[in-house]
Structure formats: structure tokens, C-alpha cells
Symmetry: C2
Subunit: 347 residues, 2 copies
């Protein structure tokens, strides 16, 4: 009993061949009597099939990986929360890769697909899909779902689907809202321009201003990182350069937190003096004071869509690549409404 029982052990004890054991355990038609004997032996031995051997033979692992920049980021947590139960229900286990947003790590995961330790992959590359990403996806020969932008010139036959959000539309929602409540000098605190979201949001900000008939003024724009302290620095810089700013559009909720810190520190009323809007609509938005108006980019929906596309491919075989676009929405809270509403509901 030092090594667990195998079908061979069962076969001996039940006095049948290993083929019969396998058939019984897999529910293939077998004589009543044989079934009983095998089941009995299996029970007595406490047999559990070895999943590795099964995987080798069946050429499938029943495992799926999810690769993202940082599991500490609430956006990815929201995705995992949706992905996990869907996969579980379909009989798949979930592996997690935190890549720190390093392209090298992302490529490592993609190339790793060739080791066949998973049946499929959901990946959210932080800085976009490069030539090398594409190569690795094609070489993988395992289905991949990319969350984020995907080049439109993907090679034929790449087993890849795509889930994206429309962050342009998201920024527009926010600026429309700020315009509606009477704000005209709307600052913009962005993240790095060499990230996909950063670049998209920068362009969207310009477009949205134009659509509203407001002038684009580069004094109103600060570029930093997607973190709270960076948001605080950016807010401080912008406020001292343009004291008359009456709204701050922030490229994510963490930046918005930093902005709120600075506004409070400087005694400016939110939203009375300055309205603030975040993006991603994370759990944090309902915790701050005032609570934070934020553009939801549908993290949960994106997670769900990605899992759905991957499972579909795994279950129904090859088909044309699909793209699923998640529409953003605006959740209005205290940081843009007077008087501040009472805080949001439960997490």
C-alpha cells in the first residue's frame, strides 16, 4: 500500500483484465457480474485514477491557464472570480500566472503552451500583442483567448478569440457626464502611454473633448503610472499648474484615489470645487469618501466572455475567430454629484 492502487491492482483482485477494469470505470457496456466485481475491488482498494496517465493517453489535461499582469489588481481579481466557476463547472482546473506585465513572462507562458500542460489559455497582455506574441500563439496549437487589443492581421488558422472593451466609449461617457454637470475645465490624469490602455485613453480624451466642443489644452494632461502615489503626484502637479480646473478624469481608480488624497489635503471640496471620475469601477470606488464615480469597463463580463469563448472552442472544435466587445458603463457616485450620495452597497 506504499504506492496507490492502479487498474492493474484492481484487475488482479477482481480476476479480470485491465481492459475490463477500464471499461467498467468508464461506464462502457460490460456484463453485470464483471461490473460488480470490479466496483467492489475498486472500492475496497480505495482506487483513484491517476490524472497524469489519463492526460497522456487522452491528450488533454483538463487544465486552463489565466495569465495577467498582477493578481493584486482588482480588475484581474474580478476576472478570475468569473472565470473560475465557469471552468470548474465545465470540469477544468485553473492555473494562474502573474506576469508582472513583462513581455518576456507573457511570451514564456505562451511558449509554454507547447509543453501541453494546459488545454487552453486566457491572457491579458499589458503592453499589447507583439509580433512575437502572434508567433507564439500560432505555434501553440492550443486555443487562446486574448483580453485586450489584437492586431487585425492575425494569420489564418490561429486558434485565437478576442475579448475587448471600448475604452474610447468609456472615456466619452465620463466626459459627457462631467460636461452635463457643468464642468468645462476637465483635467486628465493618465497612465503610461506605452501601455495599450494608456494610449487608447489618451486618444479618447482628445476625441471626447472635441465632440463636446471643448478645447484641448495640454496643460490639463498629466502622464504617470497606474498607481495611487503616482496619481497623487500627477494631481498635485496639475492643480498647481491649472488651479482653476473643475474636474479630474482619471485613467483608473487607483489614480483617482491619489487625486482624492491631494484634493482633501488641499481642502478642495469634491465634487463642489473639483469633480473626480475614475475608471475600472473596482471595489475601491464604493469605499472612498466621497464615493467615486467610475467608468466600468466590465471586468467581470470580460472574464465571463473569455471563459465562454475558450470553452466553446474546446468543446465544439475549430471555428472562425470571434471577437466579443464589452460595452462600458458609468456608475455615478458621490465624487460627481451634489450633495454626495450615501455610500454604495455591500461589496
Amino acid at each position: 500500500m506504499t504506492e496507490g492502487p492502479t487498474i492493474t491492482t484492481i484487475a488482479q483482485r477482481a480476476g479480470v483484465s485491465i481492459a475490463s477494469v477500464s471499461r467498467v470505470l468508464n461506464g462502457l457496456p460490460t456484463r453485470e457480474d464483471t461490473v460488480r466485481r470490479v466496483m467492489r475491488a475498486a472500492d475496497e482498494l480505495g482506487y483513484v485514477p491517476n490524472s497524469v496517465a489519463r492526460s497522456l493517453r487522452n491528450r488533454r489535461t483538463d487544465q486552463i491557464a489565466f495569465a495577467m499582469a498582477d493578481i493584486g489588481n482588482p480588475v484581474y481579481v474580478a476576472m478570475v472570480r468569473e472565470i473560475q466557476p465557469l471552468l470548474k463547472a465545465a470540469g477544468y482546473r485553473l492555473l494562474i500566472h502573474s506576469t508582472d506585465g513583462e513581455a518576456e513572462d507573457e511570451l514564456g507562458v505562451l511558449r509554454g503552451l507547447r509543453e501541453r500542460y494546459v488545454d487552453g489559455l486566457i491572457i491579458s497582455p499589458l503592453r499589447g500583442v507583439t509580433e512575437e506574441h502572434v508567433e507564439a500563439i500560432v505555434a501553440a496549437r492550443a486555443p487562446v483567448v486574448v483580453i485586450g487589443a489584437l492586431p487585425d492581421d492575425m494569420p489564418e488558422g490561429a486558434l485565437v478569440d478576442n475579448v475587448r472593451t471600448d475604452s474610447r466609449a468609456g472615456v466619452r461617457l465620463a466626459l459627457d457626464h462631467l460636461h452635463t454637470i457643468g464642468r468645462r475645465r476637465i483635467g486628465f490624469l493618465n497612465g503610461p502611454l506605452d501601455t495599450v490602455p494608456g494610449a487608447a485613453r489618451a486618444a479618447a480624451y482628445r476625441e471626447a473633448l472635441e465632440a463636446l466642443g471643448l478645447p484641448y489644452d495640454e496643460d490639463l494632461v498629466e502622464v504617470g503610472d497606474f498607481y495611487r502615489d503616482s496619481g497623487a503626484r500627477a494631481a498635485r502637479a496639475l492643480l498647481s499648474r491649472v488651479p482653476g480646473v473643475d474636474a479630474l478624469m482619471c485613467a483608473n481608480d487607483l489614480i483617482a484615489l491619489g487625486a482624492l488624497d491631494v484634493l482633501r489635503e488641499q481642502g478642495r471640496d469634491v465634487p463642489g470645487d473639483v469633480a473626480v471620475v475614475g475608471m475600472d469601477d473596482t471595489d475601491l470606488a464604493s469605499v472612498t469618501w466621497p464615493t467615486l464615480t467610475s467608468v466600468s469597463l466590465g471586468s467581470a463580463e470580460r472574464g465571463r466572455a473569455a471563459a465562454g469563448l475558450l470553452l466553446d472552442r474546446l468543446q465544439n472544435g475549430p471555428r472562425e475567430p470571434r471577437v466579443s466587445v464589452v460595452r462600458p458603463s458609468l456608475t455615478v457616485r458621490g465624487s460627481t454629484t451634489l450633495p454626495p450620495a450615501s455610500p454604495g452597497g455591500a461589496r
Copy 2:
């Protein structure tokens, strides 16, 4: 090329046996000439070893699972964040199981160990380790680290280590602090008593009061769930029953959020009228206003310790079970100090 190359393909192309190929790829001593031929063939074919076949042969998967109640809970996120890089550095992949705190799911994961799809498991059972858990751990014959309480009568030879925190000491830290700043009517908002943390914190609250020479008054205690809205309900109930309460000890940060909501709604000053302390010291604590004083139970440290113990066992083989205890600490923020400090640093 429809199916990837295997060592057999390489062997043919290089004109050697599969044994030689394997030896070269594993860096075993081989004649210079053979090495070159094999390497060349492997390169040209773009060979990648099949990890499943390797696992079957080597009887190890290089995978480790982490099972916890809910990946949405910041405490577990903090653990995963520490565990993942440690495992990765040691060459292991990480699987995630969200059990919803259902004992059935936890047992499913433990029993699943017998399928040998992972080399080890870190598990944090929400409602404690039952008789059945113990059985499954023993039967698993794979190393397990339990984060949380573990019965002291574990059977010999169970491959299990233990990481725990001293939540009694944590509660004491908090109450000492509240006492020091002059609070004498300290309410307690707890989670369910049939969870391990809930029960421990209830007992600790009584003890700590006693140590401080304060009377235990059951009117000052509310029991709910570990969520924000439940915390709000509990706070409302307690405040109306005992209007003169001057501090609220909350069994976790989410409950504290709910309490802050209610205090603000009722126009009571924090910490002037009522001081508030949370537990877990999650990221949320530095986001609220005022920022939340909170007892850190060292989630990150516990994650790190768990990964360390598991890796040690995997790398150095059997040894006596170990217990690692993480000391709690108190992070004082605005919800207990006058005047409220400026908000905390970056997340």
C-alpha cells in the same frame, strides 16, 4: 507537422536512439558530436518536451494548488501574491481553487490530491479542520500546508505543516490601543461563531476586556457576517441599543466599512465620538475616510510561510510536522487618532 515533434522524431533526424536524445536534452554526459547533432535536430524541429509524459515518468507534476474560500477576499489575494512568485522561482506552477468555504468543496480538493495532479497543496479551510479533512490529508500522501487552526491530535505520519496567526493577540492589541486612547465602552462586531476566526475573536474579546479590567457586557456584542452590509446592520443595531458606545472593534475590515458607513450616516464623528478598528489590514484600510486603524494578521507573511514550508518538504523530503505562527501587529490610522492623519501611502 500536424502533431508536434517528439524525442522519436529528433532521434530519427539525428540518426541516434531516443535514449541519446533524452540524455542530451537532460545534460547527461554524452559525446560532443552526438550533442551537436541532437541539439541541431531539436532546434530545427522546434522541439518542446511534453510535460505530461515527463510527469508520468517522473511521478511529479511541478504543480501546487492553493485552496481558499474566495479569491475575491483581499486576505487571500495577499496570500496568492506572495505564494505565486515563490513557487514560480522554485519551478512550480500554481493552481487556484475557490471553495466558497463549503466543506464539501474543500474535501473535494483534498481527495483530489490522490489523482496526483499536483505535488502539494496549501489550503485554508474556513470552518476548521474536521475529522474528514484529517482523513483526506492522511490518505493524500502528498504534502499539505494548512493555513489556520489544526487539531493537535493529528495522526503520525500525516504530511502536514501548519501556519497560523494569533488572532487572540491581535484582538488584544486592538483593545489595548483603544483603552490607551481612553475608550471604555468598546463594542464588538463579530462574524459567524461557527467559523474558526469568528469563534476565536469572540473568546479573545472577552479575555482582552478582562485583562483591561473592563466588564463584559453582551449588549455590546453583535454577531453577523464578514461583509460590509452585515457590518452596517450590526453597527446600526448596536448603536441604537447602546448609544453611549465610544469604540467599535470589528472582526474584519469589511465589517468596519459598514460601521463607518453607519457612523457617517448618523453624523457621529470618527474617531471623536466613536473610534473604529478593523482586522486584516487589507488594502481597503488606507482608502476609507477616515483611514482605518486595523490589526494586521500578516496575510502576506502567512502566504510566504506556507509556501516556504511546502517547498521545504518537497525539496528535502519527509520530516516532523512544523507549525509557523505569525504575530499580529497593529497599524494605527485615522479612525482612532485625533486629528485624523492624512491618508496612507500607495497600495
